[in-house]
Amino acid sequence: MTANAHALAAYNQRKGFLSWLWTWLSTVDHKRIAILYLFGGGLFFVIGGIEALLIRIQLAVPQNDFLVGSTYNEVVTMHGTTMIFLAAMPLVFAMMNAVVPLQIGARDVAFPFVNALGFWLFFLGGIVLNTSWFLGGAPAGGWTAYAPLTTEFLGTGSDFYLLGLQLSGAGTLMGAINFMVTIINMRAPGMTFMRMPLFTWTSLITSTLILFAFPPLTVGFFLEFFDHIFHANFFNTAKGGNAIIFEHIFWIFGHPEVYILVLPAFGIISEVVATFSKKRLFGYTSMVFATVLIGFLSFMVWVHHMFTVGLGPMANSLFALATMTIAVPTGMKIFNWLFTMWGGQIHFTTANLFAVGFVPTFVMGGVTGVMLAVPSADSQYHDSYFVIAHFHYVIIGGVVFGLLAGLFYWWPKMFGKILNETLGKITFWTFFIGFHLTFFPQHFLGLIGMPRRYFTYFPDEGFNTWNLISSIGAIGMAIGAIVLVINIVITTAKGQKAAGDAWGIGRTLEWSIPSPPPEYNFAQTPLVKGIDTFWKEKMEGNKKVTPAEPLGDIHMPNPTILPFLMSIALTIAAYGFIFANQTSASRPLCLVIAAFGIGLMLLLMLIHSIKDDPGFHYHKEEIIEIEKGAE
């Protein structure tokens, strides 16, 4: 019996819910991990969205008493933290996992084990953070967690924030290294760097940014954690500490983070716009160049988040100029998208509606970004609703629109069924209109003096109307999201089955294989002949992409529960540290639990090191059968 048959036999023995659960907990298949990321990220997106609605309820009218004081701060903090770290990041990783290996003609990612570990760390980190609501209160220092507020003036909520995000951050870092190596080492023959689809390119640059931006965050959080739990003095001015160091560390991470999120969205837009214009991407080379340049510049501009800290005119001016330069490559991208559509045949599918809606929305976010780069004017905008409007235009108008475009575009590839287009269009219009209604007025709110993170305002300040409009708009976005969930349920139950080339006009390799793809993705590794190689083959009258190898056995890794167990071990350690700070009586016990968690982690690493995975093989005959079934 082959190893694969063993796996199948084991599977049959454990039928039912438990075996279903086991399959998901132990999977190392990037396509399944993509689905895990999608639902994990989706779950937190809903939670973050509910928090956003609570904020808008409180601010709908002046002097409201729905959420007051620290409760409001908790909701604001959790909304920001959840949306950035637990919704946007994993959804980006969902897209990368689902698509990148397929786009480069790979059968797997470089480190399937690490990939699974990355997901579970993210997910359990998110759970740890969210359990704070029930275990002594959520963090309330803002998603930026400035010291010394977070370290000296707030309770255990801070520990949940610091350790929960430490876990999910470690997961993100692993995922990034996995994708860098996958993209560099595992491209199919002929897939040169300058033939890679734009989404793969942006994934590569984003992963690189993560690799260099997350370690500072890790350090920053550790320093705050040491201050908070072990009474270190990094940010304690009484003993020589300096609170501004944390602001620097945070924003050295924080600014690249914006591009970590938005670059993959740029990639998605590039794919969707090109596909649904039936044209190749206009100015491919300059798009790649602009992506690399944006990634590079993103590390040189962090001080524009700190113009009001008092670093002096020289620092402020230099960082202002550096910030402005980012507008140039970003502008190049906008025009390249417009001219991709120019002369094309634009299909208004839901995916493309989001991509088309993205363009003007993101331009709005971009131009306010240039305005914010002017330090003396920024001293008026900074920490006002103008900034809130700006980054929601960038992060919703850019990242979320991009992700939704990608979701509708690749859903058939991931699940084998096309999402309902009518419901999709309802989602688009309610979400799009709701979004602008919510955030456009916030530009004015900021300019007329409303600061961010205020739970209340006076009726005589001129903020009433704008806030009310903004709250009404939020309802539109909520409806859009609810319709999307309904759409997913209906499609899963009785959706239209998707062909391999689900849209009929696919250009890149992922559309050349069945939907959903078999576990090994490509029965034969494809030979890549140029940009949009699948489109080229179709234009030459071929139904399939030319293979680079004869049909043969395919080696795949076995599923393993170790990544999940490792994440559990670190979660135990995190809770140990968190509770060590809650009562002094149980502190030693809690620290022992934390040490146990770390010890368990080391033990599991040892087991992983000792137990080499021989993997299993799909045999030629099996593959022929599977491929027949897919047709």
Binding site: L338, F348, I448, G462
Partner: protein
């Protein structure tokens, strides 16, 4: 004047000025500048906004043209568009033009960044500027006038037309000092001093606020900047130096005694009392109770009785430092506090 010429040249900007200056409430809004710095900042805001509106118009026109002209029509399912790789000239155009637009913004940006950060006062001009030392606390503001040797809290009084240098620090967490009508903000960092230059050009009362999340009552950390004529300012300074007159009514006199026993370890009146909580020397002349409520006795009593209900997380204990003041006693203290005027 150079400025108005520029406004004319950028027609969209003057349109925007007309449109936006209708927004907001005088004294609160950054779009209705009442001081030199705010005015200069507003001008830079309008300049950058104007250029950005041009960008948006250009993008929008191409965008709508493309969407209308090139959308898929019925019966064209088999149409294959020309697969254009790119266009060098176009790509150069949309690289160079943004760079030029950015240069137009960049030059005044750098100039103003340096000009507004210049807070060094030459010795010869020392008497033309006023220095105010600001200490931010959770959740109130302390103002010291080092040259006049007076101290107040919550409401800062400054003369019109004079440059004021605020030297700002924090006693606890990071706060940010912001008076939108007079100029942009600067952070109050613990263990460090930042400087902010403001030159009010119109008399009036301008709302100031904390702009950096600082805890539960961040949203209630208001202060007021009272811009008055030079003579009124001088009078106020004299009044502050002398201190308020002794209370006249019996209730207020009893209140004073109670205040001394229950409040003075933290609050000061004149030179007497502690520095932990707001100085109350000119309390009766202020605009708001606890920076958030209308200025009347009823609200003051509410505040002293239960500070946490007014300002969550405030450090003031309920019913005095011994937490045992009766309603009647609080009433008397309120009577006393409303006699604290230096007018």
């Amino acid at each position: 004047m150079k400025r108005s010429w520029l406004l004319l040249r950028f027609l969209p900007i003057s349109g925007l000025v007309a449109l936006l200056s209708g927004c907001g409430v005088k004294g609160v809004s950054a779009l209705i500048p009442m001081g030199k710095e705010a005015r200069e900042q507003a001008w830079l805001m309008y300049l950058s906004l104007g250029i950005m509106v041009i960008v948006i118009l250009v993008v929008a026109s191409i965008y709508f043209y493309v969407l209308i002209r090139f959308h898929k029509r019925k019966g064209q399912e088999d149409y294959i568009p020309k697969q254009t790789e790119g266009n060098k000239i176009l790509e150069i155009v949309w690289t160079v033009i943004p760079i030029l637009l950015l240069c137009i913004i960049a030059v005044p940006t750098v100039k103003q960044t340096f000009a507004q950060s210049d807070t060094d006062v030459p010795k010869s001009q020392k008497k033309d500027v006023l220095q105010v030392d600001v200490t931010a606390h959770q959740f109130w503001w302390d103002f010291k006038y080092p040259d006049q040797k007076i101290e107040t809290a919550q409401d800062v009084v400054v003369p019109v037309g004079k440059t004021v240098i605020f030297k700002i620090t924090s006693a606890d967490v990071v706060h940010s000092f912001w008076v939108p009508a007079l100029g942009g903000k600067i952070d109050a960092n613990p263990g460090q001093t930042t400087k902010l230059k403001l030159t009010p050009e119109n008399e009036g009362v301008y709302r100031g606020r904390c702009a950096e999340l600082c805890g539960s009552s961040h949203a209630l950390m208001y202060f007021n900047v009272k811009v008055v004529s030079q003579s009124e300012f001088d009078q106020w300074v004299d009044g502050m130096k002398k201190g308020p007159e002794a209370p006249a009514t019996a209730s207020a006199q009893e209140g004073q005694e109670l205040f001394k026993q229950n409040c003075m370890s933290c609050h000061a009146v004149g030179k007497e009392g502690g520095p932990v909580a707001p100085n109350l020397t000119d309390f009766a002349d202020r605009k708001m109770i606890a920076g958030t409520l209308d200025h009347n006795k009823e609200n003051l009593i509410k505040w002293i009785t239960n500070p946490d209900a007014v300002k969550p997380g405030a450090n003031m204990p309920a019913r005095g430092m011994n937490k045992n003041l009766t309603d009647e006693q609080i009433q008397k203290i309120a009577d006393y506090l409303f006699t604290l005027s230096v007018k």
